[in-house]
C-alpha cells in the first residue's frame, strides 16, 4: 500500500476526487486502457481518440485559470427545499448525497481568476451534482458571478454541463432562466464580453438561457447540446433520430456555435479572444467616447433620442 499512498500524496485534493477507482481507466470512446495520469495531463481527453471525459467543476477551473489565481465566491450558497418535494426520495436527501458525492455545496462553482493574465469571472457547472441542474442556488450563483464580472469589469466565462432545470424546485427553478438572462443583458449593456462553453451534456433550461447567450459560443467535440433531450424528441415525433443529431458538430453545421474546440486547446482559444478584445479598461474608455462618433451619420438623430425608446439610449 505504501507506493499507492506515495503517489496519492503527489496529487492535489481535487485530483483524488476524480480518480476514485484506481490508476487505469478504460476510454469510453475507443476502449483503450490508459494510465489515468496521462489522461489527466491531456486535460482529461483520450490521447488515442480524443474522447472527452467528464470532469468536475474544480478540475475544469484548474484547466482555465492561471495557477493560483482562482478565488471562489459565494461558496456558502446552498439549496433549500422550498416545495417540500418528495418523489421516491426526499429532495433534501438527494441534496445531501450529491454534496457527499461531489464535495460541492451546489451544482456550480463560481469565482474570479486570471486567464492568460486577463481578469475573468468564471462559473462552471458540475454534472455530477444532480445532473448540473438549475436550482435556485445555481441561478443565484451564476447571476452573482455575472454581476461581479460587470462591477469589476471582467470577462465572463460560463462552462455548462446540465440536464436542465431542477424539477424538485418546480417553477422557482424555471425562474432562474429569467434571472440569469436578465443579468447577462445588463452585462452585455456594459459592452463586456461573455464566452459560453458547452460540454457534454448541456440541455434544457441551461441552453434556453445563459449557455446560448454568449457573445462567443464554444462547444467541446461530441458534446450533446440541445433544448429537448433526444428521448423526448424521439417519443414526440415517433421516429429515430439521425446520426450525430444534437452533437456539437451538428450545432456547428447549423450555425448555432462559433467553434468546436477540444479541451486541450480551450484555454489558448479563450486567451486569443481575450487578447484580441484587449483588457477591459480599454474597452470601457472606448465605450465612454461620445456615441456620436460611433454612429453612422444617417441614424444620428434617431440614436440621439434613443432609437429603441426612452430608456434604451443608444445601447444598440
Amino acid at each position: 500500500m505504501n507506493w499507492f499512498r506515495k503517489i496519492e500524496r503527489g496529487l492535489s485534493r481535487n485530483d483524488k476526487r476524480d480518480m476514485p477507482d484506481g490508476l487505469w481507466r478504460k476510454c469510453d470512446g475507443c476502449g483503450e486502457i490508459i494510465y489515468e495520469r496521462v489522461i489527466h495531463r491531456n486535460n482529461w481527453t483520450c490521447i488515442k481518440c480524443g474522447y472527452h471525459f467528464m470532469v468536475s467543476a474544480r478540475e475544469y477551473i484548474s484547466m482555465l485559470a492561471d495557477p493560483g489565481s482562482f478565488t471562489e465566491m459565494d461558496s456558502t450558497i446552498r439549496s433549500v427545499d422550498p416545495l417540500n418535494f418528495r418523489d421516491s426520495k426526499k429532495y433534501t436527501d438527494r441534496l445531501k448525497s450529491a454534496m457527499k458525492k461531489t464535495g460541492l455545496s451546489e451544482a456550480v462553482v463560481t469565482g474570479t481568476c486570471d486567464i492568460g493574465e486577463h481578469p475573468a469571472c468564471v462559473a462552471v457547472l458540475d454534472f455530477k451534482f444532480m445532473g448540473g441542474s438549475m436550482a435556485s442556488a445555481v441561478g443565484e450563483k451564476v447571476a452573482r458571478a455575472t454581476k461581479a464580472a460587470l462591477e469589476q469589469r471582467r470577462f465572463l466565462v460560463i462552462v455548462s454541463s446540465s440536464g436542465g432545470a431542477r424539477m424538485q424546485e418546480g417553477i422557482l427553478s424555471l425562474m432562474q432562466l429569467a434571472k440569469t438572462s436578465a443579468w447577462l443583458a445588463r452585462y452585455a449593456d456594459e459592452g463586456l464580453l461573455y464566452i459560453s462553453i458547452m460540454t457534454h451534456p448541456t440541455t434544457g433550461g441551461v441552453t434556453a438561457s445563459f449557455a446560448m447567450l454568449g457573445d462567443i459560443i464554444i462547444a467541446e467535440p461530441g458534446a450533446l447540446v440541445g433544448f429537448a433531450g433526444p428521448r423526448v424528441i424521439e417519443q414526440t415525433i415517433n421516429q429515430e433520430l439521425p446520426e450525430g443529431f444534437q452533437r456539437s458538430e451538428f450545432l456547428f453545421d447549423h450555425g448555432m456555435v462559433d467553434m468546436v474546440v477540444p479541451r486541450t486547446k480551450m484555454k489558448k482559444t479563450l486567451v486569443d479572444v481575450f487578447d484580441f478584445f484587449g483588457d477591459i479598461e480599454k474597452q470601457v474608455e472606448e465605450k465612454q467616447k461620445p456615441a456620436i462618433l460611433k454612429t453612422p451619420p444617417h441614424i444620428e438623430v434617431r440614436a440621439d433620442r434613443g432609437a429603441n425608446g426612452p430608456a434604451s439610449g443608444n445601447r444598440e
Binding site: I77, R78, V80, P82, L83, F85, R86, D87, S88, S136, A137, G139, E140, A143, A165, M167, E169, G170, I171, L172, S173, L174, M175, Q176, L177, A178, K179, S181, A182, W183, A185, R186, A188, D189, G204, G205, T207, A208, S209, A211, M212, L213, G226, F227, A228, V232, I233, T236, I237, L241, F245, Q246, H254, M256, G306, N308, G309, P310, A311, S312
Partner: protein
C-alpha cells in the same frame, strides 16, 4: 362538442335535468317548480363542493380543457380592434403563436399569444400551441416593434411547451428562447404577462418575462409537465397526479411562491363554462394593470423588472 371531464360530468347532467324540468314547468306544469328549486340547491352545493376542493391534477385538466377559451377567443372578446401580423422574416410563419396590434379599452398594445387549435385540423396548423424557434423569433420581432413605437406589450401564455422536434433543434430552439428572455428583461416598454391556460416551462417563459405576471384562476404554470416529471422521477407517467401535487403548479401556489403577481378570477367551473364572463374578468385585469404600468417611468420599470427576477428563488447562504 362533448368533452366534459369526469368531475364535471355529474354537474353537467344535473344542469341539463334542471333545464329540462324548467321548460316542462314553463310548458304548463307549475307543480314541478318546487322540484326544480330543490335540484338547483343541490346543484349549487355540488358545484361549490367540486370547485372548492379541486386537487392539482384536476386543475391541470381544467387548464387543458378542450373547451377552454384560447388566445384568439379572448382577442375577439376583449379588443376593439386587432390587426394580426405574421412571420419571423427569417424562416417562416409559426401559427402556434399569434401577434399583432390590439386596442383594449383605449390602450394600444402589441399583443402576443400562444394559440392552440380547437380541432384536429386546426391543431395540425397550430401545432397544439407548441412553438418552433420561428415562433419565438416572430414574437421578438413584434416585441422590438413595441419598443420602437413605445407601445406596451401584452402576452397571453398558453402552451404545453416549446416543440421538441428535429427542425426545432436544427433552427436553435434553445437559443431563440434564451434570446427572448434576455431581450424581454430589458425591453423599454411595460410588459404584462397573463398565463391563460397552460404555462409549459421554457416554452411559456419565452414570451413570459414581464413587469407584471398574472394568472387566470385555473391556469397552471410549471417547470415540466406532470406527466414528464412523473416519467423521470417516478419512472411512470401514470404517476402524473402525484407529480402535479409535488410541483405546486396552480395559480394559488404560484401566488404563494411569489412567482406571479395576481390571479384573475374565473367563472365557477372554469372559463369554458362562461367564456364571456372570463373575458370580462381578463379585460378588467389587463386594463387595471396597464393603467398602473403606464404611470411608472420606464427606467423605474426596468430597474424593478431586474429586481423582480433577481429575487426569485429560495436558497440559504
Amino acid at each position: 362538442m362533448e368533452a366534459w371531464l369526469d368531475f364535471e360530468k355529474p354537474l353537467i347532467d344535473l344542469e341539463k335535468q334542471i333545464r329540462d324540468l324548467e321548460s316542462l314547468a314553463d310548458a304548463g306544469h307549475p307543480e314541478i317548480g318546487e322540484q326544480v328549486e330543490k335540484l338547483k340547491r343541490i346543484a349549487d352545493k355540488k358545484r361549490r363542493e367540486t370547485y372548492e376542493n379541486l386537487n392539482r391534477w384536476e386543475r391541470v385538466q381544467l387548464a387543458r380543457h378542450p373547451l377552454r377559451p384560447y388566445s384568439l377567443d379572448y382577442v375577439s372578446m376583449i379588443t376593439s380592434g386587432f390587426t394580426e401580423l405574421h412571420g419571423d422574416r427569417l424562416f417562416s410563419e409559426d401559427k402556434a403563436i399569434i401577434g399583432g396590434l390590439a386596442v383594449i379599452e383605449g390602450h394600444k398594445v402589441v399583443l402576443l399569444g400562444q394559440q392552440k387549435g380547437r380541432d384536429t385540423k386546426e391543431n395540425l396548423s397550430r401545432n397544439f400551441g407548441m412553438c418552433h424557434p420561428e415562433g419565438y423569433r416572430k414574437a421578438l420581432r413584434l416585441m422590438k416593434m413595441a419598443a420602437k413605437f413605445g407601445k406596451p406589450l401584452v402576452t397571453l401564455v398558453d402552451t404545453p411547451g416549446a416543440y421538441p422536434g428535429i427542425g426545432a433543434e436544427e433552427r436553435g430552439q434553445a437559443g431563440a428562447i434564451a434570446r427572448n428572455l434576455l431581450e424581454m428583461s430589458r425591453l423599454p416598454v411595460p410588459i404584462l404577462v397573463i398565463i391563460i391556460g397552460e404555462g409549459g416551462s421554457g416554452g411559456a417563459l419565452g414570451i413570459g418575462v414581464g413587469d407584471t405576471v398574472i394568472m387566470m384562476e385555473y391556469a397552471i404554470y410549471s417547470v415540466i409537465s406532470p406527466e414528464g416529471c412523473a416519467a423521470i422521477l417516478w419512472g411512470d407517467r401514470g404517476k402524473a397526479k402525484q407529480a402535479a401535487e409535488a410541483l405546486r403548479l396552480t395559480a394559488p401556489d404560484l401566488l404563494q411562491l411569489g412567482v406571479v403577481d395576481g390571479m384573475v378570477p374565473e367563472p365557477t367551473g372554469g372559463a369554458h363554462r362562461d367564456p364571456r364572463a372570463a373575458a370580462e374578468s381578463l379585460k378588467k385585469a389587463i386594463v387595471e394593470n396597464l393603467d398602473t404600468l403606464a404611470r411608472t417611468p420606464i427606467p423605474t420599470l426596468l430597474k424593478r423588472r431586474l429586481e423582480k427576477y433577481s429575487s426569485m428563488g429560495t436558497y440559504i447562504e
